[in-house]
Symmetry: C2
Subunit: 419 residues, 2 copies
């Protein structure tokens, strides 16, 4: 078998066999297949797609390209959440302690930020001394201690994905659904999960801006996850504006801890609602509760009792961070003192938000549908640098589209469930 | 400008601007664009094609990626021939001296063999001490001395092509017409040509097996050559069987020298006919004669007078080879003493030849349409190794398809002229 013959076959639109896909993934992992061959295949996959069988084989081969974590001796169901990411999406920080407090083992392997949005790891690192580069042994110890652990992808987990992922951004092959699916599920599968819930974002602030593409991705994720023995469900959720009020690593962690503490600002409520829903779906997927209503009730109980907050505190301590962040988050987190008000240039209703203009360090006071008078506060930018802060405030001011009429459609956060 | 944005644009089927193409080719040349980005773009070009404007811009950018040879002080028209290659195609060895003897300056930059066919350079190197790695100064001196010079592509000529060409075979992006055209024309253009004739082979022994693909390639070559100021014409010629009798570096040079010497074996005549036709078309393109008939007559004169042979002899000497090869070719060329007869397993007519089975060192005694009795000689294999020679003879024996009926269509060597 030669790499170029496999590339040619995909280039010509034929279906690759399981053996061919495994050969390629092995070669990528070992380095025997050159990067320039990998990217030619990635582009051919981008343009010609993959069948369900190819998708499953690719994901499985990538999943098995490195170590498979084995937590089978932990007497709890294992589940995780994955989000395709969006501006202000910090639900991992809530879902992990909620699900763990509800009795699920959550071995969460997360990524760094992509493009203009920060990743879960970047957010967690704003807690002083919090470590996201645990060894497998440490990861395991944290899991045992508090039911969830948060870590970066190690070299041992799905190295083929690591390699291919690093090539995709610079070769315009990021948005290919077969490659996205293989990347996500291979990492999750290698973490030894029983179940997985996936939050596929759609809208102007999401990676998948169109509903039909988001639905296509969600279906492929669920189908592939199930085909590899990970019970999967996907929610398609709205990302036409930042999720919650806070955008930026420190302020997002602050928002989450405040929510866990029961300090619910109205603008942050969607973060909590979505987190509870996703955690509840994890509970039903692993059959800890017989119905979604019972699962929601279970998650609400661990939220209201403070058990989830305590779980989070235990995790911060176990991962080397300062647990006092749970008591005095605004004091422990590195929040910038300099702030810059963003005010409305006119009166009217917010009808649209261009989230690409949301640089880090912003707290929004309005959302789509909010009514504003001239000079009303849209939000506050935080920046250590005055010039940068002023520019960001200006950019964000123009990112809020204000019209005379409220836009007719009220956006529902959860648009669709794909099972 | 970022490489990935250019890749994305081509991936999405949009037309790249001249600036984008120039940026990419500059980056390929300087090494600032990584190989894995180049191959992603190559695959996107393969699958999405290029417009005429893109084709011309790509070719022009590659042509200008290195030195442009300047022979403007040589008071002769400059022209060259390019062939897409096929088994037994050795016309360069005849066309160069024919055209040079007729008054054309032929700065021929040739390639090595691809796949199962030897390249012009490989053939020439079978002349003892013949050098194909001349410096630019030496190349120029040879041109001055005998009107044609044969050399390999140097690092200075179209380095972007050199780089991209080296990536295409291992990434299944060889057969893309825009890439083939850019590769061929950029090298020819950098050699400072006024005109160019292109021999596009079609049939089972050619790179382009289908007539419509060959025609598409021929048209793109002519259009692009003309758009860059190189007057171009293409001939589509048949390659359903080896051209001439000899296949293999030494025996092909032998066949050519015998032809130049006027020793015309019937089976070698197509080599001479095609060479004269292609050389005559070079003569008309550079307007040394007003009509194709006058041009053919001019080429025939330099052939029959022995001027072309003398031109070849002068070249061999100038390029360091042993000029006695023109007097006693069978003695000077390294021909293998061990030979293996290939005999017909049955009686009938040759209707098809699988040229892929033609390993080097073979002289054919029959062609499509020949009538054979059982045990009649098909040809002779030459090999220093007995075992290999026997295997080759067996393979070639089965490569000749023999049927009871002569196939109805008599193949004409020149199928079409594209102007």
């Amino acid at each position: 078998m030669r790499p170029q013959d496999i590339i040619r076959k995909k280039r010509d639109g034929a279906e690759l066999s399981r053996e061919e896909i495994e050969f390629f993934v092995r070669g990528v992992t070992s380095g025997e297949i050159a990067d320039y061959q990998s990217t030619a295949l990635l582009m051919a996959i981008f343009l010609n797609g993959m069948t369900d069988a190819e998708q499953s084989a690719l994901t499985n081969a990538m999943l098995h390209s490195g170590d498979i974590l084995d937590f089978s001796d932990i007497p709890k169901p294992k589940a995780d959440k994955h989000s395709t990411g969006g501006v202000g999406d910090k639900t991992s920080l809530l879902i992990a302690p909620l699900a763990a407090a509800a009795g699920i083992c959550v071995p969460m392997i997360s990524g760094r930020g992509l493009g203009h949005t920060g990743g879960t790891l970047d957010k967690l690192e704003s807690i002083p001394d919090y470590r996201v580069n645990l060894s497998l042994k440490e990861f395991r110890a944290v899991l045992d201690r508090c039911g969830f652990a948060m870590n970066g992808q190690t070299a041992e987990i799905a190295p083929a994905d690591r390699k291919l992922y690093s090539l995709r951004d610079s070769t315009a092959t990021v948005e290919a659904i077969p490659l996205i699916v293989a990347s996500i599920i291979s990492k999750k599968g290698a973490a030894g999960l029983d179940a997985m819930v996936i939050d596929v974002k759609t809208g102007s602030g999401a990676f998948m801006r169109q509903d039909d593409r988001a639905r296509e991705l969600a279906r492929a994720l669920v189908k592939t996850g199930n085909s590899l023995g990970v019970r999967s469900q996907a929610l398609i959720t709205d990302m036409n504006q930042p999720l919650g009020q806070a955008v930026g690593n420190s302020v997002e962690v602050l928002e989450c801890i405040e929510l866990l503490r029961g300090e619910i600002k109205e603008g942050a409520r969607p973060v909590l609602d979505l987190s509870i829903e996703l955690a509840a779906r994890m509970v039903t997927l692993v059959e800890l509760e017989p119905s979604i209503d019972a699962a929601r009730a279970r998650i609400n109980r661990v939220y209201e009792s403070g058990a989830a907050l305590e779980c989070f505190r235990a995790n911060v301590e176990a991962q080397g961070g300062d647990p006092r962040v749970c008591d005095e988050p605004a004091k422990i987190l590195p929040l910038t003192e300099k702030s810059f008000k963003v005010e409305s240039p006119r009166s009217g209703f917010v009808i649209k938000v261009d989230t690409e203009e949301m640089s880090v360090g912003f707290i929004a006071d309005v959302k789509i549908g909010s009514e504003l008078q001239t000079d009303d506060l849209i939000g506050t930018v935080f920046s250590a640098d005055v010039e940068r802060g002023r520019r960001a405030a200006k950019r964000i001011s123009s990112a809020y589209e204000i019209a005379n009429q409220r836009s007719p459609e009220l956006l529902s956060l959860i648009k669709e469930v794909i099972e």
